[in-house]
């Protein structure tokens, strides 16, 4: 029903576009047009689609809650809690849809009939109102087309609002996500002291689990210490950067300064394709190939190596980030003006002297920016760690042991069944928001550094 209605509105809008344009050509024969004929078409189409679609959207948002209020009115005298009311409403809906399998009471049956009835009324009312709106707005718009009013300005204003609504939507969704993170995290911090979370050195949320009851507050104190996770996150990111920065930077310099056009033409796209390999592929590469390899080498040297080591995860993560750094630093170095290179060569500098003394310093802010962006990617990386570095949150600085990161723990917490409102589940939100703050901080610094670099040559 809804689909038909929306399709109808959109088809009508297209039709009115052609109709408006044709009408403009008719007007043209007797008087001067105020805009190009297509603006007449846009004007009609906008007036046709916009009011009807807005009413449709509002209706769809508010209809369910209004219907719900009507249904639950019959239950107000029973003194039920909010959760019980919600349960009843779900049952009524299921009964109306014919998917209910429990005991059917008379009262419930009555409600279901009422629900079907209300839905029917609402649907007819919706169609009637939208048709009325279509007729009203189209006739209004057609009148002003006939009067040959100014057409350009209303169309431009309409487009401006369409763009505004789109960007407003994007911003609101982001803000919504941040706030939901924040509220859940605040609820978590009501159960666990923020001090214990930030400075505690034991992360073992599983031990707070108690069947049907509140966990012991003493246990809570020692179960949610995030220090091992932060340490693990930065440790693995550090290993990754030790791999990625030298290789990425040197290959970036090679690509931009030394490689001939033929090499560059093929090497650059290939490197960018590497950046598109799904992280889960890197993950099983780390878990199945690199991890055992590191263990074997370590054992041959007489070292105790865990099969899931921070070293394996970090090294593979570094490989994943190489294309990121090399591609970005290649762009930054290429952007250094050619006349600086000419100036250096003309002084008798060799290629490596020019790179070291002129090009690299000039590109440094951009390179630092790209490295910071890469760090924030390493910090946020999940799959490789989950698969290759284990899930036990050890507080260790030994790259041969297994360790865990914030992202990997969020996965552990939210896999399988969870109880909402359980501190264990809520701790995922606390971890999420701390991760968000760290990467936000890194990104802001990186972007401001890159921006300052851009201004330098203008």
């Amino acid at each position: 029903m809804n689909l038909i209605l929306v399709t109808f509105i959109i088809l009508l809008a297209f039709t009115s576009y052609y109709f408006g344009r044709k009408k403009a050509l008719v007007i043209q024969s007797s008087q001067r047009l105020t805009a190009l004929p297509k603006f007449y078409g846009y004007y009609l189409a906008a007036w046709c689609a916009a009011p009807a679609l807005i009413i449709f959207a509002l209706w769809s948002v508010f209809e369910p809650s209004i219907v719900k209020t009507f249904i639950l009115q019959d239950y107000t005298d029973q003194n039920l809690t909010k959760n019980e009311l919600q349960l009843i409403y779900t049952k009524v809906k299921a009964l109306a849809a014919g998917t209910y399998t429990g005991n059917i009471t008379n009262f419930l049956d009555e409600s279901a009939n009422k629900y079907i009835q209300l839905k029917g009324i609402a649907n007819s009312a919706k169609v009637a109102i939208i048709l009325a709106i279509l007729i009203l707005s189209l006739s209004f718009a057609y009148r002003s087309v006939q009067k040959n009013d100014r057409m350009r300005e209303p169309v431009e204003i309409f487009l401006k609002w369409v763009l505004f609504v789109a960007s407003l939507g994007a911003v609101l969704v982001t803000i919504g996500i941040v706030f939901s993170l924040l509220f859940e995290a605040i609820r978590f911090f009501q159960a666990v002291k923020i001090f214990d979370f930030i400075f505690g050195t034991h992360w073992y949320p599983a031990k707070t689990f108690v069947r049907d009851g509140q966990p012991d507050p003493e246990l809570m104190k020692d179960a949610f210490g995030a220090v091992p996770l932060f340490a693990g996150t930065f440790f693995i990111a550090f290993i990754a950067m030790c791999v990625a920065i030298p290789i990425g930077l040197l290959s970036g310099i090679y690509l931009s300064e030394y490689a001939g056009r033929g090499v560059r033409k093929y090497a650059k796209p290939i490197i960018e394709i590497l950046a598109g390999i799904p992280t889960v592929v890197y993950g099983f590469f780390a878990a199945l190939t690199v991890g055992p390899f590191v263990k074997e080498i370590g054992n041959a040297m007489g070292l105790e190596v865990s099969a899931e080591s921070a070293l394996a995860a970090g090294a593979v993560m570094g490989v994943m980030i190489i294309p990121f750094i090399s591609s970005l630093s290649d762009d930054v170095i290429t952007a250094v003006p050619q006349n600086l290179r000419d100036g250096s060569y003309a002084m008798g500098a060799t290629k490596s002297e020019t790179v070291k003394k002129v090009i690299f310093p000039a590109a440094l802010p951009g390179i630092v920016g790209s490295i910071l962006l890469a760090v924030s990617r390493a910090v946020g990386e999940t799959m490789i760690v989950v698969m290759a570095s284990g899930l036990a949150a050890n507080l260790t600085m030994n790259p041969l042991e297994s360790t865990s990161t914030i992202t990997a723990q969020i996965v552990v917490i939210l896999i399988g069944d969870q109880q909402f409102g359980d501190p264990k589940t809520q701790s995922a939100f606390a971890l999420g928001i701390s991760l968000f703050i760290v990467t936000l901080f890194l990104n802001v610094i990186a972007l401001s550094v890159v921006k300052r670099y851009r201004e330098k040559y203008e």
């Binding site: 600086l340 000419d342 008798g348 500098a349």
Partner: protein, 251 residues
């Protein structure tokens, strides 16, 4: 006395020929101006003299260019030594994004000319003095070179070029991005410099060529049409095309 002697120089960019059989004698401690319409090959020729065309992958140079009997267009030539001897100033001022001091000290550092900090200070000071910039920047040598005005930047580039005491300086339209006052300062500088170095200058301004140079060469469509004393080229050229260009009938 001849400093640079070019014979039958042909230059190609890929399959396109940019210079045709150019032969020219550039005299020592004089200013030689190269004039001609845009795209006539004068800058290409200038860049042959310090092998800057090496930077362009598709560029190929044929023929003989000798400087003091040293063949420049040879694979065996040490390009680093050559460029130490032949400095260059570009159309757009291109100081490095470093301090004024570091800009001038760049050449002496990479060629290992100064033995001590005092010696380097001395080189920087003399170079800046010769480039007539010392008085304006002596109190702010540690400021970034790109913060200077356009004319000051160009004089900084000249100071950078003369810091390694080259025998020849090539100038590729050094005043085209400058205002008349800065241009006059640079021209005055060229006049002073020619006591010690040989200067080859490419310019679009015929009055500038007439003011600063002793010899002038006129290029057109990749060929050297006429070469001779500046007075003669401007007052009584042999070639009709030269005459037309100088009187502004084309180009």
């Amino acid at each position: 006395m001849s400093k640079i002697k070019a014979e039958n120089v042909n230059v190609y960019y890929g399959s396109k020929q940019a210079l045709f059989d150019v032969s020219i004698d550039i005299a020592e401690k004089e200013v030689t101006a190269l004039i001609g319409p845009s795209g006539c090959g004068k800058s290409t020729f200038l860049r042959c003299l310090n092998r800057m065309n090496d930077v362009i992958e598709i560029c190929r140079v044929e023929g003989s260019i000798k400087m003091d009997n040293l063949e420049l267009n040879s694979r065996k030539l040490d390009v680093v030594r050559l460029r130490e001897n032949v400095g260059m100033v570009f159309q757009k001022p291109n100081p490095f994004p470093k301090t004024i001091y570091e800009n001038v000290a760049y050449g002496p550092t990479i060629h290992g000319i100064a033995q001590s900090k005092e010696e380097m200070d001395q080189i920087v000071e003399t170079s800046l003095k010769k480039a007539a910039l010392w008085n304006e920047v002596k109190d702010r040598l540690d400021e970034i070179g790109t913060g200077l005005s356009g004319g000051q930047q160009q004089r900084l580039c000249i100071a950078r070029a003369i810091s390694v005491s080259p025998e020849v300086i090539l100038m590729d339209e050094p005043c085209s991005a400058l205002d008349p006052i800065a241009t006059a300062q640079i021209e005055e500088l060229i006049d002073d410099l020619k006591k010690e170095v040989t200067i080859v200058i490419v310019t679009h301004s015929m009055s500038q060529a007439a003011r600063v140079s002793q010899k002038t060469g006129f290029f057109h469509l990749g060929k050297l049409i006429e070469f001779g004393p500046t007075d003669k080229i401007f007052k009584n050229p042999d070639n009709q095309q030269t005459q037309d260009y100088i009187t502004g009938r084309f180009g």
